[in-house]
């Protein structure tokens, strides 16, 4: 099952996408490890790694900068990588601040933006902010660093769609034509705040402030004014990010569990990526209950199992046989449900596929991660 590996063979960027709780982060790390073992200089950028995964990488404190996975971790796992593995964790607030620093004309403006209450909410709490910054960080790493492969884990979005739309939505927020037209005269007059609403009808402004309170609008106007002149820079960069994602050197890996809900999301995402001509490198069904009774024939009776156990000298064979029969039957119910979902997923989303059995992706060291990588 080297399909996923082959799908990513010529890629410089791999983006793992899928709904929350499907094991994206672990799979992203496995993909990165595999390429590093084969000789690449590889970075995995995670969002919220499990403590055990961070520990597995020897990086108890992952931060917003890349850290080298230490050699002794590989030695302990009996691995001899021909390349190098780096890992980092995305810090949304820091990435926003860096982006503002990059585009602000001077320190004064930068500090004014940092202090603005609307900016503080935007950079920490606004829906889509994390998704936007993941894209931004990816672009920075892809253009300013020298990795053979960057693997990006993505935030567990409520809706897979958020990921592709968030940059546009936030840019919309930062500078629609409407806002600029409104603000331009107020800015040139050197006066901000409610003045801008004199441009609209007094009726509209009055009603609106009844809705939110006037000072909220003042804050907002100040924020918009601080961003004046920076919008183009943000916008150009976002278009560049978007263009980068459509390059053939990028491969999206769609990750799903076998639950109907996660398969639904994965298929929706797959369809969207396809519609936007984003390159898809593979589809992974994770945590699948394996079919242990293939063929679907009648399941063994308790007595049959008890006899087999007794024949091997196992004590309490009768009682254990009954429990085995029950557990196998229940396992097969879950396996059938999973198989149905995986079949639907793979049939509807063609391309390289991998199905990873449950528990095998429950990784707590590099050796486990390497074993997982093999099944990709």
């Amino acid at each position: 099952m080297g399909e996923i590996r082959d799908g990513l063979a010529r890629k410089r960027i791999a983006v793992c996408v899928g709904s929350g709780g499907v094991g994206k982060t672990t799979l992203a790390a496995a993909i990165a490890l595999q390429r590093a073992l084969e000789g690449g200089r590889v970075l995995v950028c995670t969002i919220d790694p499990a403590r055990r995964l961070a520990n597995a990488l020897g990086l108890e404190t992952l931060g917003n900068v890349e850290a080298h996975v230490p050699d002794h971790k590989f030695r302990e796992a009996g691995l001899a990588p021909r390349g190098q593995l780096f890992a980092m964790m995305l810090d949304v607030k820091r990435t926003w601040d860096d982006l503002v620093a990059r585009h602000a004309p001077d320190r004064t403006r930068q500090d004014r933006i940092y202090k603005n209450r609307i900016y503080q909410q935007l950079s920490s709490a606004l829906a889509g902010s994390q998704e936007y910054m993941a894209m931004e960080k990816l672009y920075e790493l892809a253009t300013e660093r020298d990795y053979d492969l960057i693997v990006l884990d993505t935030p567990p979005t409520a809706h897979a769609l958020d990921f592709l739309e968030a940059p546009d939505r936030i840019l919309d927020f930062l500078g629609s034509d409407t806002a600029r037209i409104l603000l331009a005269p107020a800015l040139s007059a050197g006066k901000l705040g409610l003045k801008l609403f004199h441009l609209g009808s007094g009726y509209v402004a009055k009603t609106l402030s009844r809705f939110t309170g006037a000072e909220v609008l003042t804050d907002l106007a100040d924020f918009m004014a601080s961003f004046q002149g920076m919008y183009e820079g943000f916008k150009n960069r976002a278009s560049a990010v978007r263009a980068l994602l459509a390059q053939p050197e990028v491969g999206f890996v769609v990750v799903s569990s076998a639950s109907p809900r996660s398969v639904d999301e994965a298929l929706y995402f797959h369809e969207r990526l396809h519609a936007e001509s984003m390159p898809i490198a593979g589809v992974i069904a994770n945590r699948v209950a394996p079919d242990l009774w293939p063929g679907g024939g009648a399941l063994p009776e308790p007595d049959e199992l008890a006899a087999a156990l007794a024949a091997r000298g196992v004590p309490d064979a009768r009682d254990l046989g009954a429990r085995l029969a029950r557990v196998l039957a229940e396992h097969e119910v879950l396996a059938r449900a999973d198989a149905r979902e995986v079949e639907l997923l793979f049939r509807s989303a063609p391309g390289p596929h991998a199905a990873i059995p449950r528990l095998e992706s429950d990784v707590h060291n590099l050796a486990g991660l390497a074993r997982l990588a093999v099944s990709l």
Partner: protein
């Protein structure tokens, strides 16, 4: 665990990591409430609706619909909530339309962070306190809240606005919403988790956010899909040896070994959750189901019935 009396609250908030079964638990709690003679509303937030379909009914959309006798569901979206809220504040629909269909205004409303969350939460909490014919419109509102991070974002909006917004209409709304959320007689927030590492981590972080940031009264920790401990450690070791036997014993031993491993990992996660959280725990066993439907939700409700 009788005496938790969760269903005696007017507002039950259910949250936890994505994919842990929040909607199933919300639906089961709704069923129980309705069965005890309450008029129940289950609210989902801007979601692909799951509760009504789980109960075998078509999705309700933005207006409450009765899906089971006594149990209504609704999906609250920012767009509809904004319209309702606007109409309520401004009193007249015609004014709302005249003002809010204005492009400029729409832009500014969207640009105010947290306004979407505020109107969504406002709509839900309005249902909690609404009265009809001199009695509450609902005896119980179950909020099937978004996953952890998004739930905290949603629920902290009233407190955040109280910190930053000067007196005015926004602040007045934030105040009554905050009062209602932190009232222990009205509200209880329960966290759903799976007995696995990441969901438990999130549950622990979420619980400290509930205490330190949100200040919302805490209900229970619901541990969903808990595998039963069926095999002893000794048996598990023996099962590992029997896996390579020919069928039928080999596959049965393999299934049993996997079950035992899963149960052991789950027990470890449960212990960790219990040690870290001083919350009453409700265990919902892992149910072997080929499909999740009304019958499965009924089974979950039967398990919950004893504890809530």
């Amino acid at each position: 665990m009788p005496g938790l009396a969760l269903l005696d609250h007017r507002l039950l908030i259910i949250t936890g990591k994505g994919g842990v079964g929040k909607s199933t638990i919300s639906a089961a709690l709704g069923l129980l409430g309705a069965r005890r003679g309450k008029r129940v509303l289950v609210c989902e937030v801007n979601a692909k609706e799951r509760v009504a379909p789980l109960l075998g009914a078509p999705a309700s959309g933005s207006s409450a619909r009765e899906v089971v006798p006594g149990l209504f569901t609704v999906d609250v979206t920012p767009r509809d909530a904004m319209r309702e809220y606007g109409t309520m504040v401004l009193r007249f629909r015609s004014i709302y339309d005249a003002v809010f269909e204005n492009r400029l205004v729409r832009f500014f409303l969207r640009a105010i962070p947290s306004l979407a969350e505020l109107v969504v939460l406002g709509k839900i909490l309005h249902e909690v306190r609404a009265e009809e014919h001199g009695r509450p419109r609902w005896d119980l509102v179950v909020l099937d809240a978004p996953a952890t991070g998004h739930a905290v974002q949603l629920l902290r909006v009233p407190a955040a606005l109280l910190d930053t917004v000067p007196p005015g209409p926004l602040r007045r709304d934030a105040q009554w919403m905050h009062d209602l959320l932190v009232d222990p007689l009205t509200t209880a927030l329960s966290i759903v988790t799976l007995p696995e590492e990441m969901p438990v981590n999130e549950a622990i972080d979420l619980d400290s956010a509930v205490r330190d940031v949100l200040g919302i009264p805490r209900g229970a920790l619901v541990v969903n899909a808990m595998p039963e401990a069926i095999f002893s450690e000794e048996e598990r070791a023996r099962l590992g040896e029997l896996e390579r036997e020919p069928p039928p014993l080999g596959p049965a031993a393999r299934a049993a070994w996997l079950q035992a491993l899963r149960a052991e990992q789950a027990a470890r996660s449960l212990t960790r959750a219990r040690a870290a959280l001083d919350l009453p725990t409700i265990l919902v066993p892992l149910l072997a189901r080929e499909r999740w439907d009304r019958a499965a939700v009924e089974d979950v409700a039967a398990v919950l019935a004893g504890s809530v």
